[in-house]
């Protein structure tokens, strides 16, 4: 006899006693502090780098190609020799490489929204900005990796900065801090746009021109007047100049202060904004 509405024979779980124990023995913990919650989300971000390393590859391959292409194809024409151009361009490419990586912060948040996992995070009793702040802390690890790839490549090609390793580390630190500030913009895009692809397109459409309209590749003096003014005002130019300065040992304090102020300003504006968007956004 077929009895479609009755249930199939009970398939017992592996261990009912263990199930009952797991359900009953849960002493409630005290709740996570704001910092601990944010760091836990940072840990989640790092696990993703470990499990999905392709993302990292995507963002480092372009800058690597740029280093090679610009140094050996345009280097001679722009700076007279490939070696001299490498000294000029390498700190700039470091900036570009890390800034490109920031777009992925927005893609990651949007991907979360399209899955159900955000509902889980939102229904937890945690400090509201923790998921966003934590994600960006995890992303900072990615920025360091992306930056390191460029520096190592540069050294292999003959890049020998005056200020040596401490200068390079200082430049890297500054770039990562700026990237942290900039990534709030892409996080906002990630919360507003409808698909990870849309975030990728909008993100690169804004970060590409901004990077090229800076002094990353060429000296601004070679540009038409209006463009030169724009390039000089572009915070990415200030960041590239400061990075070059730190690597060569002649950084202007004003440049560093501007970079830090821009990063702090972006965080101050976008942290509360994105926290509100995160509470409401859904995919």
């Amino acid at each position: 006899m077929s009895t479609p509405e009755t249930t199939a024979p009970q398939a017992p779980l592996t261990d009912e006693a263990a199930l009952n124990k797991a359900i009953s023995s849960a002493p409630p913990p005290p709740g996570a502090s704001a910092i601990s919650a944010a760091l836990t989300f940072g840990w989640r971000g790092m696990l993703k780098v470990k499990h999905v390393p392709e993302q990292l590859l995507d963002v480092t391959i372009t800058p690597v190609m740029f280093v090679l292409m610009f140094t050996y194809i345009f280097g001679g024409a722009i700076a007279g020799s490939t070696g001299e151009y490498l000294d000029y361009i390498l700190p700039g490419i470091l900036v570009m490489s890390v800034l490109f990586t920031t777009v992925y912060s927005g893609i990651a948040i949007n991907t979360d929204l399209t899955k159900g996992v955000v509902d889980r995070f939102r229904s937890l009793p945690i400090w509201r900005p923790a998921p966003l702040l934590g994600a960006l802390l995890g992303d900072a690890v990615r920025y360091v990796v992306a930056g390191t790839v460029i520096v190592v490549l540069g050294v292999a090609l003959g890049f020998r900065p005056e200020a040596g390793a401490p200068g390079v580390l200082a430049a890297m630190g500054l770039v990562v801090v700026f990237a942290f500030g900039l990534s709030w913009i892409f996080t906002t895009m990630g919360l507003l746009l409808r698909s990870p692809n849309a975030v990728m397109n909008a993100g690169f459409m804004s970060v590409f021109p901004l990077t090229f309209l800076s002094n990353v590749f060429v000296e601004p003096e070679t540009l038409p007047g209006a463009l030169e003014a724009f390039v000089n005002a572009n915070p990415i130019s200030v960041l590239a100049t400061a990075s070059r300065g730190l690597m060569e040992g002649d950084a202007a304090a004003a440049d560093i202060v501007i970079v830090l102020a821009v990063a702090a300003g972006l965080t101050a504006v976008f942290l509360p904004l994105t926290t509100r968007l995160y509470a409401k956004a859904s995919a």
Partner: protein
């Protein structure tokens, strides 16, 4: 804080619109502590929106609700501390392993690293996921993912659990496992609010059911009351010889005094029937007339039949509206 109240959920006049679409229009609910309460309705009836409001994920447009004595708007954090939501989309991170998912949730609840690991191991073992603990969740089957999802919901045992269609898309074995888990949870004292499209599921698990249609509660009661109000289940008969169906039809109709439907299967017919005795009588009549019966079954009324009885229309899938609602929600 009226934490000693006997009601885990008390909602009055909850409303929510997304643009022009009224997703929920005036839902009242009263759910006793320690019970399993089912919200039964087709896709787009407003079940998910209701549950999301109660879980503080969506602010209601009007009406109010207290969950475990806490107002869902003014005291949302207190609600969040005591409830968990297992949504239609499994709320787990696909790019992490099962173990990492549970450690993540444990850490966010404030467990120390070692405690979180221990708790994760205990849950993975109990939910039959120990072997798959180190695999990425994106490689899990639907049933495993669901189980992990429920495990993530009870890393800290909630006082109240929202389950949104916990077995949709699962095979019967996985469905039974999820049901077992839910029963164990309720046995441990957790209140459950369950959204489902299946009367069968509500009947298996729930002490009380509210039937929802077009954002309103259209009927409420115990599963038995509800089934009684629908009247009857359905009798399906399959004949050995399709040629004789036309003969069988009037015999069954006379025996049960009910209208008989001829099904798409040329050997099958079905009708409504209140009791097993009468069903047996009708089948006996057929046998006596020399019409051989291949098999027959007496089933519970389906959601469709419940809806037909309660509203006079079958359970429509309001998918387009739901999609609009989701779009609006995103835009809001």
């Amino acid at each position: 804080m009226s934490t000693d109240s006997v009601l885990a959920i008390e909602a009055t006049g909850l409303e929510k619109s997304f643009g022009e679409t009224k997703a929920v229009c005036g839902v009242d609910l009263a759910v006793r502590r320690g019970s399993v309460y089912g919200l039964l309705g087709p896709n787009g009836a407003g079940k998910t929106t209701t549950i999301r409001m109660l879980a503080t994920l969506l602010p209601p447009d009007s009406g109010e609700a207290r969950v475990l004595g806490h107002d869902i708007v003014d005291d949302a954090d207190a609600v969040r501390r005591a409830v968990t939501l297992t949504g239609q989309l499994a709320s787990v991170d696909e790019d992490l392993t099962g173990r990492e998912n549970l450690i993540l949730i444990g850490r966010l609840f404030g467990f120390k690293r070692a405690q979180a690991k221990e708790r994760a191991a205990e849950l993975l073992e109990a939910f039959g996921l120990a072997e798959a603990a180190g695999r990425l969740v994106k490689n899990y089957s639907g049933g495993m993912r669901r189980r992990l999802d429920v495990a993530a919901s009870i890393v800290v045992r909630p006082e109240l659990m929202f389950l949104d269609e916990p077995t949709t898309g699962l095979d019967p074995r996985s469905r039974n496992q999820v049901w077992d888990i839910i029963r164990s949870l309720v046995g441990g004292g957790t209140t459950v609010l369950l959204c489902t499209q299946y009367l069968d599921e509500a009947d298996q698990l729930a002490d009380g059911i509210a039937v929802i249609d077009h954002g309103r509660v259209i009927a409420e009661g115990t599963p038995a009351q509800l089934k009684a109000s629908v009247g009857s289940g359905s009798l399906h008969i399959r004949l050995l010889d399709p040629e004789r169906r036309s003969e069988a039809e009037p015999i069954v109709a006379r025996a049960l005094d009910a209208e008989v439907h001829l099904e798409a299967d040329p050997a099958a017919l079905s009708t409504t029937c209140g009791s097993a005795d009468r069903a047996a009588e009708a089948v006996g009549e057929l046998t006596r007339s020399g019409i051989e019966v291949a098999n027959f079954s007496l089933g519970q009324p389906s959601l469709d039949e419940v809806f037909l009885a309660l509203t006079g229309h079958p359970a429509e899938e309001q998918t387009p509206e739901e999609e609009i609602a989701i779009e609006e929600e995103k835009a809001a």
